[in-house]
Amino acid sequence: MRKPMWALLSVLAVVLAFPAAGVTKQHGGTLNMIAWEGYTQPQWVKPFTKKTGCVVHQKYGGSSDEMVTLMRSGGGGQYDLVSASGDASLRLIFGKDVQAVDPSKIPDFKNFSRVFQSPPNNTVDGKHYGISLQWGPNTLLYNTKKVKPAPTSWSALYDAKYKGKVTIPDNPIQIADAALYLMKTKPSLGIKDPYELNKTQFDAATSLLKKQKPLIKKYWALASDEIDLFKNGDAVIGASWPYQTNTLVAAKAPVKDVVPREGATGWLDTWMVSAKTKNLDCAYKWLAWISTPTVQAQQAIYFGETPVNSKACAIMDKLSKGSCAQYHANAPLRYFKQIHFWKTPIADCGNGQKNCMDYTKWQQAWTQLKG
């Protein structure tokens, strides 16, 4: 009995050792990424691996907060890259979870619209902590049959007329949407930036959201939840992303979206490199690859967002007619100016004062709002 046992064990040991050996061999060429679902499609990952030999393993992050948590789990270093949105990027930079990168190693960087080369959510003191990827506005989505006349202002979301038919994202960064509305409608508050709010301004924004709460059908957590709400008539107006609009329009639902006259918040995603990556070479190759016009265009159309590389426009139109204009990839600077891109709220107000509400406060306020 003993002998066969040992034989079995040794066989097991050999079997187990083999794949491990395989992993060590390939180690120089593996990238572990945290990405938004849809950001690492085989369509552009496969050609990348074929061209560079760098193998991509991805884990989808469900929210910005989860991405930050994942980047820090196990002391960091488990993941090489993260596709961080603006509400996560500053947390990663100040938490020293990501490293500065050299844009001169990214050939397409010079083709980026100027606003996306050094946006404040990934560039600190002139240092680039990552390369901008894609962006999109947070729009006002409405049912064209139920909401008349067509809304032009965010005030529609605070209007008792649509009581019980309003939906907004379940996300603390949503406080910025209320702040943006107050910035334009209540100048006396003196809000300059919806992400840099002192106590008075912050309280004004959260009390606006508290007043809005009785109108809310649901704070949606997943894009598919909002799509369901609009499809089934449980919501007729809400804050949304272009992705939901595209999906609903494709399903022949009577909806439209708009960037209201107050402007809108928006997201700008950045590929950031872990401070503890062991594959800097592959990471740079990925940054360069994902910035090329073709890949930018493919991702823009797949996900329904806007590329930062201005050369992607022509390819987008080739892939899907009219998509460049549809996603504002050729929009003038004026258009970007009305989009306030997500960034992590921190105590530093940017004007020398340090009394702004940081993200922890935003999260607490959000939990209390939901109750």
Binding site: G62, S63, D65, E66, V68, T69, R72, F94, G95, G164, P172, K213, I216, K217, K218, Y219, A221, D225, D228, L229, N232, G233, D234, D358, T360, Q363, T367, Q368, K370, G371
Partner: protein
């Protein structure tokens, strides 16, 4: 060597029992007890707000925050009340069903009913919750039916009422089975004796059947109550604007704020509630019917 061990085991039954039981007991201690202890201990730690790293110094801050912040009290009360409402609803629905199964149905019928009770458990939990969304939403089956009957539409999609209905549906089998087991165990002679002594149906039910079935109902209620208490998916899917459960706040503290200590502190609340509940359940003799 082998023979000597075998001999020792044969001579000392205690040793035999010990060596047989120690692996599962050890696994239980490590996996179960240790996890609970770790949870309880970490509830007394805090998190550095800037680095999100756990600070290992003892403090009651988490519990103080739980107590002083009305939001968390509301969430805890909501969770416990809905769990209680679901338990009562399930008990009321399950009792006649289980009674029919145990005492009136033919063996063939009983087999069919068993399959019907267990059938939903074979389908995915998520699929069942989503199907309720299809029934309850504004353009859903419920409102369509009401409309056909000329009744006004019911607006219960994405409300706490919707959660109550969905939970009651999902956990019903866990109530039916223990109640069935306890009813089946009542000897027929007891009921005959009750009748011989002149008791009518209602009196027999109240004085004989219900007291004997009570341990089964309490056993079932342990399932329905604790399963509702710990759930956090149904509130996300069918809940409305004010539908957070303890589980949702725990999930958000871990995923949004990386605040494990606070999550642990809040997770102690359902644990304490369940502890009290189980003590009461033991008094009623529920563990004999499990």
């Amino acid at each position: 060597m082998r023979r000597r061990i075998g001999g020792a085991l044969f001579r000392r039954p205690a040793l035999r029992g010990f060596s047989l039981l120690s692996p599962p007991v050890l696994a239980f201690a490590v996996v179960y007890i240790a996890a609970l202890v770790a949870l309880f201990v970490s509830a007394f730690w805090t998190v550095d707000p800037f680095t999100s790293l756990t600070v290992h110094s003892w403090t009651l801050d988490n519990f103080r925050q739980l107590w002083s912040e009305p939001t968390y009290r509301h969430v805890a009360i909501r969770t416990v009340s809905i769990a209680a409402a679901v338990t009562i609803t399930d008990a009321i629905i399950a009792f006649p069903f289980a009674y029919f199964m145990a005492r009136l149905a033919s063996p063939h019928m009983r087999a069919i009913l068993f399959v019907l009770v267990l059938l939903p458990l074979w389908a995915s939990y998520l699929a069942r919750v989503y199907s309720w969304r299809l029934i309850l939403n504004s353009n859903g089956l419920l409102n369509w039916t009401l409309d056909q009957l000329g009744l006004p539409a019911a607006n219960i999609a994405y409300t706490n009422t919707a959660m109550w209905i969905v939970f009651s549906y999902i956990w019903l089998p866990f109530m039916i089975l223990p109640v069935y087991a306890s009813l089946e165990r009542i000897p027929h002679s007891y009921i005959e004796a009750s009748r011989d002594l002149g008791a009518k149906g209602g009196r027999t039910l109240r004085s004989v059947i219900l007291p004997l079935a009570l341990p089964g109902i309490v056993a079932g209620s342990i399932f329905t109550f604790s399963l509702t208490l710990g759930d956090y998916i149904t509130p996300v899917l069918v809940g409305g604007a004010s539908s957070q459960f303890i589980g949702n706040v725990v999930y958000d503290s871990v995923n949004q704020s990386s605040n494990l200590p606070f999550a642990a502190a809040f997770a102690v609340v359902p644990l304490a509630v369940m502890g009290v509940y189980l003590l009461i359940a033991r008094r009623v003799g529920a563990f004999e019917a499990l």
